[in-house]
Structure formats: C-alpha cells, structure tokens
C-alpha cells in the first residue's frame, strides 16, 4: 500500500535528519521526500510517500506524531488531495525530426521543453508519479541522458 504523509514540523536544523533516521531505525521505507518552508517561517512541511501494510503505515504515523518536533502528521487521502511531483528528463535529440517528435509527445503530457546542453532537450513535467512514469516510458526510446525528480508534494 502506498501512502502520502504530510508532516508539519518546526523549522529548525536537524529535523530532516531525525525524521529520516526514524524511518531507518524503525525499518520503514521512504519512497520520496520533499521539504519546504511554510508561509509561517517557523514551520516546514515535509511530504513523504511510503509503502507498507496498513498496520505499518498506521505505526509510521504514530511514531512521527510522537516526535516532539512534529506539530501535525496527516495521512492524505489520494482522492481528496492534490499531489504532484516535478520531474526533469534530459533527452538525446540530435536531429530536427526527433526534436519535433519529442515536443509533440511533451505537449500531450503537458510537459514543457527546454533546450539542454549539446543539442539535448530537457523535458519538465509536473504530474502524479504514475503519469511521470508513463511519460518516462514513452521518451525512453529517444534515450534519456539524465533525470531528476523532486519527490511528491501534496495538500
């Protein structure tokens, strides 16, 4: 089972370390993690996606809640929340025709195309992890030179 956890923490040094350490020490998985300061700079919001049984996820939520630095821990309902991830792919594109094809493909997924180094293209896609995966599969034949993802953030 996949779960999205939204964690409001005090914006202090060392808290990311403590949260990730908790996952390691308790034998939980982190699928992705993203952190950013909130509108009130006293707090940061961490979004963690994780995989586990229902019992494990309930235990993760409780252990996170027990941490003194966490203010609020929520398990987000996939259907009732917006969850997105930004992915960047650097794609091989030596010929004009490839470039047009990639641009078309990007359009259908709502990805933006930037010029990359050495004639490559960089596709920028903000979407759900599933759709990013499908997009990745469809551009694979062109040759993916590099990629980076932010991890899911959600509200």
């Amino acid at each position: 089972m996949w779960a999205i956890l939204s964690i409001r923490v005090e914006n202090k040094p060392g808290i990311l370390f403590k949260v990730t350490h908790l996952f390691r020490a308790r034998n939980f998985n982190i699928d992705s993690i993203s952190v950013g300061v909130m509108e009130n700079p006293e707090f940061s919001k961490m979004t963690i996606t994780t995989v586990g049984t229902e019992k494990q996820i309930a235990q993760i939520v409780k252990q996170l809640d027990k941490m003194i630095d966490t203010i609020e821990v929520k398990r987000l309902d996939e259907k009732e929340s917006v969850y997105k991830e930004l992915a960047l792919f650097r794609i091989k594109s030596n010929e004009e025709s490839t470039s047009t094809e990639i641009s078309k493909l990007a359009d259908t997924y709502g990805a933006k195309i930037h010029n990359g180094p050495e004639g490559s293209l960089i596709a920028e896609l903000t979407s759900t992890p599933d759709k990013i995966k499908t997009f990745e599969e469809s551009i694979k034949p062109f040759g993916i030179l590099d990629s980076a993802r932010t991890g899911v953030t959600a509200l």
Partner: protein, 566 residues
C-alpha cells in the same frame, strides 16, 4: 512571570537552572570540554558524585530516576566521555527512565572540524534519546534545561541530552529563567478516555477467563493501589511482565508472577488459556510474549498505555485506552464500584488458576544443591526487609531473581529489562541509594555483569553510598553458557571467566567489605552484615556453573512451548 535578568556565564546558568529543578546530586566525570561547568558546580550547592567510568554515571542517574521518578542527572565531557554515556542513555530509553545527561562539547566554532575530543553526540544519540538539545548561546540554557526536565519526566519518561559547547559554558550573557516553556509538538497528557474505559469494563466483565498483565508503566505511574483494588474487586489473577515485577505484591494470593522467556511456569501456563487480558503499561516485548502472532490468537486485548504509538505496535488491541494508566485505572475502578460488583473467589476460572499455581509451585523441579539459585534467593528474601530496593545485572542471576525472588513492596524491583545492559545493576543500585538513603539497596549480580562496572565500588565507598552486591558467582558468562549447552551442543566458547578475580579481595582493595558465603547460614549472616555495614558489601556466592535457568521459552517460540526442568 520571569525572574529579572541576570548576567552570568553559561556554566552558572546551568547550575542555577538545575537547582531550580530541584537537583541535589549529579553523577559525573570531568574533562576538558566540561571544565567551565564543573567550575560552577564547585561553587553551587549541588553534590558531585564522582564515577570511574561515564557509563556508570548514566546508570546511577537511571537508578536514581527510576526510584525517585525525577530525572537523574549525569555529567560527562565531550568525545569519549559522551560516547561512554551512550550505553547508559540507551538503557534508560529502552526502559522509559527519566534522565538528563549533560555533556560538554567542543567550542561552537570548532564543531564539525574534527577537533580533539569532538564527537557528534547529538547525531549518535538521536535514536536513543527522548530529545536532545545543543544550546548555541548562553541565553538558551535556562530554557533548554526547563524543557529537558519537562520532557524527561512527563508522559512516557525517557532520557534527554543537553550537549553544551565549551564556549557556551564560559561566555557571559544576560539570562532569564522561565517558569513555563512552550513546545507545540509535545502533548504528554491526554484526557481520560471515558468511552474506551467503559468498553474495557464491558469486555472484561463479559470474559470468562480474564487476566491482568501489569507492565512497567504500572510502576512508572505508581498505579499500585488501583491495580490491586481492581484485581481484588473482580478476583482476577495478575501476571506481570519482567519489567512490571513489583507492580503487584508477589506474595498476594492473586499473583502468578512474571510471564515470558523466564517467567513463572504457572504464569506462562495460565497465559496460554486466558480469553481476555487487561494489559497495563506494557509494550508486549518479545521477551514477555514470545511470538506475537501466537500470543494474540484467541485472545481479546485491552491495552492501556500512555504512549499512543505502543497501541498496535506489537499486538492488536480490541480496546485501546491511551493515557496515564493510574488515571485510567482510577476511572475504571469508579465504574466498577458503581456497578457494585463483587465476584466471588469461588469462580471456576480462579479455582482452575489456583490449581495450576499450586501444582507448579509444588512440582517444579529445582536444582538439588544447597546453594541453588532458588535457595539463595529465597534466603535473601527471608533476610531482606520488604521495603528494600533491589536492582539486578543482566544474565542468569537476573532471570533467577525473576523466578525466585518475590518483589513484595510496590516498586522495589528494578532491572535493565529492555536493552539488557550488563553492568547496569551495581551503579543503578548506587543511584537508587542516593534517591532513597533510608532503605537498603541490593544489587542481585552475576560475576560477568559485575565485572563491567565493578569500579563503581570506589564511588560507593568514597562517596559513602553503601549498597550490597549479592554476587551469584558461577565464574562464567552463565546465560551464554546455558544457550551453548542448550542450542549449540555444548560447544562452549568465550564463557569461562577462570576464577578471576577474587571478589572478596577485590572488594577489600576498594575499602569495601567482602564476604564469601558457602552455605545458606553464612549467606544469611553475610546479608545481615551488609545491612549493618557503613560501606559497600560484596557477598561472593559460588554456585554450580552448570545450573540452568528453567523454565525457558526459547526465542522465536511461544509461551506454550515452555521448556521445563527435566
């Protein structure tokens, strides 16, 4: 609310803040990075108790904390001083003991530069503390001390680390001492959960074969009277976890003693028959319940605990009551009183329980020798006043203490049950004696464990903190030897301690009293001599090195698979 501002250095701010928390003693050892705080300790009214190894300082603070229910305080320098504390800190965390550990750190501008005696103790200790602070300015010190004590002693208690850079101890600043602190992410107290307590009562009353399982949380929250009243009102038998030993008088007719790997035979037998358990302040450790899946089969669990994360961690509860167990039990007692319930002591379940109990108390085969574990521990119980405090080391002697030494007075039995730290018992006994100088304190020890912190004899003698070390001596690492005999076809390795040292001479060399007891009569006299002594007494009690601890629930098996003496 605040006191007026005062100018002082960080070390003085620390001492003042500790004094405001009521600290009268600290256990520690000075070094380069905590000299400034020691200089202020010199000028303060706080007593310093010098140890010979920082691990012992942490165990002393732990013992002090468990007995007084106020955080014990230990001091160590940076680097190796701090890392030596770690085992003691982890021990306190595993057993939910309140502690405040204060370490020196290299100056702020040296942190991260691999300075002499620098260690990232904040990072290293992270999974083993309830919380850790590293104040970077003098002004923060009063607040982190206040927060540290509050965190250490409230909710589920635990160790807090204050890591103070040397320059922060030295620098002067204007400081104020807060009366209250705010921590938006820390909510140790919850309201009493009325709804679930009512559900718990219904479930308990509708069950046919109920039992109460009292864990360490019962002792931490001093819920002794409530537990006893409920057990007596409903005539429900009581078992404990090993950590819960001493939550319920073990000479009480309803007591079956501890369950678990080395639980009482009758307790383990009955535990496999019950249909409902009222579990109070326990995490259902594997050492207590065996395999998790087997334990909860056919069993309805009512789980009371102050820590919500314990609910459902190891066992699935039908009813969960989160909150201070004393407060919850008090409400439960009121509800039961309102129902004017009085179960007769003639009910069939209790009759059966008593038959099983009587059978095992009469028929459990014991080691035949005069100085068997059972006989020497029963002798100790006979001679020792009931309100005396007992600690143990870790190993065979510890499990024999669980089996054969009855804890009668509430909250008088303490052991390193979670982390299982050899060397804990003796320094913890010294800490306990500092907390309760009015009662006798005995460390039930094994020779292997006592070796690890025996240099605390210097602290005991020189600081005038007399305790008794009841040294059950098989000159081997007995529990390991037992496992090698049982599971490794007697391939004995690394267990023979070769009659070294001579514990009577060892005790005497520290200025303590050393007595060798080779008969029960000598043993009784030795304990009495220890009770009357002004210095520590080490009673060396040689036993048969082949004696096993039985019954035994092998790891990875269930209580019903208990191995009995043949």
């Amino acid at each position: 609310m605040n006191d007026k501002m005062e100018i002082m250095n960080g070390g003085k701010a620390l001492m003042k803040a500790l004094e405001k928390e009521g600290v009268k003693e600290v256990f520690g050892l000075p070094g380069g990075a905590n000299l400034p705080m020691y200089d202020e300790l010199f000028k303060s009214n706080i007593r310093h108790i010098l140890v010979r190894h920082e691990q012992s300082a942490a165990h002393m603070a732990d013992g002090f904390g468990r007995v007084s229910r106020k955080p014990g305080v230990c001091f160590a320098t940076s680097g190796p001083g701090a890392t030596n504390l770690l085992t003691g800190i982890a021990t306190a965390q595993a057993d939910s003991a309140p502690m405040v550990a204060v370490t020196g750190q290299v100056p702020v501008n040296m942190i991260g530069r691999d300075a002499f005696q620098e260690s990232d103790i904040i990072g290293m200790s992270n999974p083993s503390v309830k919380y850790a602070f590293q104040p970077r300015t003098v002004e923060e010190i009063p607040e982190v001390v206040k927060k540290g004590f509050y965190i250490a002693e409230t909710g589920r208690p635990g160790p807090v680390l204050l890591d103070i850079p040397k320059d922060v101890q030295q620098n002067e600043a204007e400081v104020t001492f807060p009366d209250e602190v705010r921590m938006p992410g820390y909510h140790p107290w919850t309201d009493v959960d009325m709804v679930n307590i009512e559900r718990a009562v219904d479930l308990l009353l509708s069950s046919e074969k109920p039992i109460i399982l009292a864990g360490g949380g019962t002792i931490i929250s001093s819920a002794f009277a409530e537990l006893q009243s409920i057990a007596e009102m409903l005539m429900i038998p009581v078992v404990t976890t090993f950590k819960g030993k001493g939550a319920f008088p073990e000479n009480h007719p309803l007591s079956l003693g501890p369950i678990g790997m080395h639980g009482h035979a009758e307790a383990n037998k009955i535990m496999t028959e019950v249909d409902c358990v009222l579990a109070i302040g326990t995490r259902f450790s594997d050492r207590s319940v065996g395999t998790f899946e087997e334990f909860e089969r056919n069993l309805k669990i009512i789980h009371m605990d102050v820590d919500p994360a314990e609910i459902g961690k190891n066992q699935t509860a039908q009813v969960a009551v989160v909150g201070d167990v004393k407060a919850s039990l008090r409400v439960m007692l009121k509800l039961l009183t309102k129902k004017a319930l009085k179960k007769s002591d003639g009910n069939n379940w209790l009759k059966h329980v008593n038959e099983v109990k009587d059978y095992w108390r009469e028929n459990l085969k014991l080691h035949p020798g005069e100085m068997s574990a059972a006989k020497i521990l029963r002798k100790l119980r006979e001679v020792l006043p009931k309100e005396s405090i007992v600690t143990t080391e870790v190993g065979q002697h510890q499990m024999w203490a669980s089996l054969f030494f009855d804890a009668i007075h509430p909250g008088t039995f303490f052991s390193s049950t979670g982390l299982g730290t050899m060397g804990w018992g003796f320094p913890a006994a010294i800490g306990a004696k500092v907390a309760r100088p009015d009662v006798a304190v005995v460390d039930i020890a094994g020779d292997g464990s006592f070796n690890m912190t025996e240099n605390s004899l210097a602290t005991s003698v020189l600081e005038d903190i007399p305790v008794i070390v009841f040294l059950i001596n098989n000159y081997s690492l007995g529990m390991v030897a037992q496992w090698q005999r049982t599971f490794y076809d007697r391939r004995m390795i690394g267990i023979d301690l070769k009659k070294c040292p001579d514990y009577v001479k060892l005790a005497e060399s520290y200025g303590a009293q050393g007595i060798r007891a080779q008969s029960l009569d000598e043993l009784g006299k030795a304990v009495k001599a220890g009770l009357n002594s002004d210095v520590a007494t080490v009673i060396d009690i040689p036993i048969d090195p082949e004696e096993d601890v039985l019954p035994f629930v092998a790891p990875g098996t269930s209580l019903k698979d208990m191995i009995l003496p043949s």
